[in-house]
């Protein structure tokens, strides 16, 4: 990923644009000022209804930028398992396109019996399905693997994962409608953004659980998440779940696009690189306590976090308070769903001494989240993507919490 997006560089060179940004920043500040708070809210009528709800002005969860066209979800500010749609992480490769839903079309062609064009309204006429699952960028977690810094928040560490309730039509339904040739083994998914993003996807995923999604958390997709329609591949790396999808070409081989060859591949220590590594392996992160939190007193604190696996359900999360010497079973909060964030909790009595907090997830295949050492041995220090090792938070005797892994 580049250090600065080309767009932002160009913006900076235009002084008029800079002045405009400054003005809009001031307007933003004025809106965000807390309202006058009465001494006793029971003695004055509250405000009336609004067409559109807003957050309390006391709450300011925000995505933050990563490199380039990337923003991270504020994991430390979220509760339960659902990510509010406006806080879902972003990764786009040519910006967020503006698409008129009335002019939207999905073309399906190639090894099919009936090459067909669907409007959005036609896609919505098919029997629909909703499911709650995570979407994670396969680059998530790089800041816990190399060039590690103690002052790293859960958001900066692992904020490229979000969970939503997605609604759409199973891709299998659409493929049955157009009739797929028996030679078909892959399909190309293509977006309508400036990158005209393309990924090759095995047909098996279509027959399993792939969807064309048009809704997120009960409303239309957010533009950043692919409005008006995207490919949803539960449990697979975010890049393969092509947003703003406009074309599917069914084929008997993969297309070897730029993203699936030069980008989203995993170099290995044996001087090869793994390609089509779609599935996100089991992973977990403690989101409280974590940097920049300070524990104000010893005594009772609840350790809480998220665990997920692209291969199915989380069956166990263990928590260690001594850097991995002893492991204790955490409580998994219902619902525990396949390929979905799962909230875990562990009650902790802090005695005021230094502690090293860790979590370790196991999924229904028996896969256990590896340590940093185990992952580096399997993948090498230079590898990219699919960082799912055990993370740690160091609680210092003064109560300050910092990231607990160190660069080796």
């Amino acid at each position: 990923m580049s250090k600065l997006s080309r767009r932002s560089v160009l913006m900076r060179t235009a002084s008029g644009a800079v002045a405009l940004l400054a003005r809009s920043a001031r307007a933003q500040e004025a809106r965000d000022e807390p309202p006058e708070i009465p001494d006793d809210p029971t003695k004055i009528q509250g405000r009336g209804w609004r067409e559109l709800g807003e957050r309390s002005t006391f709450e300011r969860p925000r995505r933050v930028a990563f490199d380039g066209d990337v923003s991270l979800s504020p994991l430390q500010d979220l509760h339960g398992i659902i990510t509010p749609a406006d806080l879902h992480f972003e990764r786009h490769h040519g910006g967020v396109p503006a698409i008129d839903p009335a002019r939207y079309r999905l073309l399906i062609h190639g090894l099919v019996k009936r090459a067909t064009v669907f409007t959005l309204a036609e896609l919505k006429r098919f029997p629909s399905r909703s499911r709650i699952c995570f979407v994670e960028c396969s680059g998530n977690g790089s800041r816990g693997y190399r060039n590690i810094a103690a002052e790293t928040t859960p958001q900066n560490l692992d904020g490229l994962t979000s969970t939503s309730e997605w609604t759409g039509v199973p891709l299998a339904t659409i493929f049955r409608e157009v009739g797929v040739d028996s030679r078909a083994t892959w399909f190309l998914a293509e977006g309508m953004d400036a990158a005209v993003m393309t990924r090759s996807i095995p047909m098996d995923k279509a027959w399993d659980d792939a969807m064309i999604a048009y809704a997120q958390n009960g409303e239309a997709l957010r533009p950043e998440q692919g409005y008006p329609a995207r490919l949803l591949l539960p449990g697979w790396e975010g890049n393969s779940q092509v947003k703003w999808i406009r074309r599917i070409e069914v084929s008997d081989q993969p297309f070897m696009t730029r993203e699936e060859t030069s980008k989203y591949t995993d170099p290995l220590p044996d001087c090869t690189a793994r390609m089509f590594s779609f599935v996100m392996d089991a992973k977990s992160i403690i989101t409280f306590p974590a940097y920049p939190v300070t524990l104000t007193a010893s005594g009772s604190w609840e350790i809480s976090g998220l665990a997920w696996s692209g291969r199915g359900r989380i069956t166990k999360v263990e928590v260690s308070i001594d850097g991995g010497r002893a492991w204790n079973r955490a409580t998994l909060e219902e619902p525990v769903l396949s390929k979905c964030h799962t909230r875990f909790r562990y009650p902790w009595q802090w005695n005021g001494a230094e502690a090293l907090l860790m979590s370790r997830a196991t999924d229904e295949t028996g896969y256990v989240q590896p340590t940093l050492g185990e992952l580096r041995a399997a993948r090498g220090r230079g590898t990219e993507y699919h960082y799912n090792h055990v993370l740690a938070w160091r609680v210092r005797p003064d109560g300050r919490v910092v990231f607990g892994l160190e660069s080796a």
Binding site: S2, R6, V9, H93, G94, L107, I108, H109, K113, R114, A115, T116, V117, F118, T119, R125, R146, E177, V178, G179, E190, A194, A195, V196, T198, R247, E249, S251, Q253, F255, M256, T257, R258, T261, S262, D266, P267, L268, P269, C271, T272, A273, R274, M275, F276, S277, F278, V279, D281, G312, D363, T365, G366, V368, L375, A378, G380, R381, G382, T383
Partner: protein
Amino acid sequence: MRICVAWALIAAVVTTSCATARRPRSGPRVTPFGFGSPATEEQIRAWDIDVRPDGKGLPAGRGTVAQGASIYAEKCAACHGERGRNGPFEPLVGRVAEGFPFGRDPSLKRTVGSYWPYATTLFDYMRRAMPWMSPGSLQDDEVYALVAYILHLNEIVPEDAVMDADSLARVVMPAHDRFVRDNRRGGREIR
């Protein structure tokens, strides 16, 4: 008599199910819903821009290394640097001296010459998404020329190379044999 009634019933059922199908079909199966419109050749041609490693999808046209050098200077060098190096964005040129040690060394750049397994990908990607400020604006001849120039800078084709649908599909990239399919399967093993 009984047989005649049975045939009449079957005929009635077949007629009814044909009548409920919303559009004509050539295959043996009725479409389940009848949604969508048949895609025209023109609609498919307008969007079908992908190029496969076997060359399927490569258009007519051609370009030379020299033509590519001048197009590159005008449209690419500001971002990717003179001769594909030291620009503010993605470096395109460079060969790793020995092996393919990307897994061991995080400092290595994944250039076209050192990391890209297929030359057709270069054509596909530049035509659909480059240059950054006017994506999809390059003519097919320009894309062929840029492919020739970038492959030449990476010491993969000679200075007099001409790229077209035939020659591009035959280019074998240095990293071609380095890629392996995913062998992770869940369970106890860390891969």
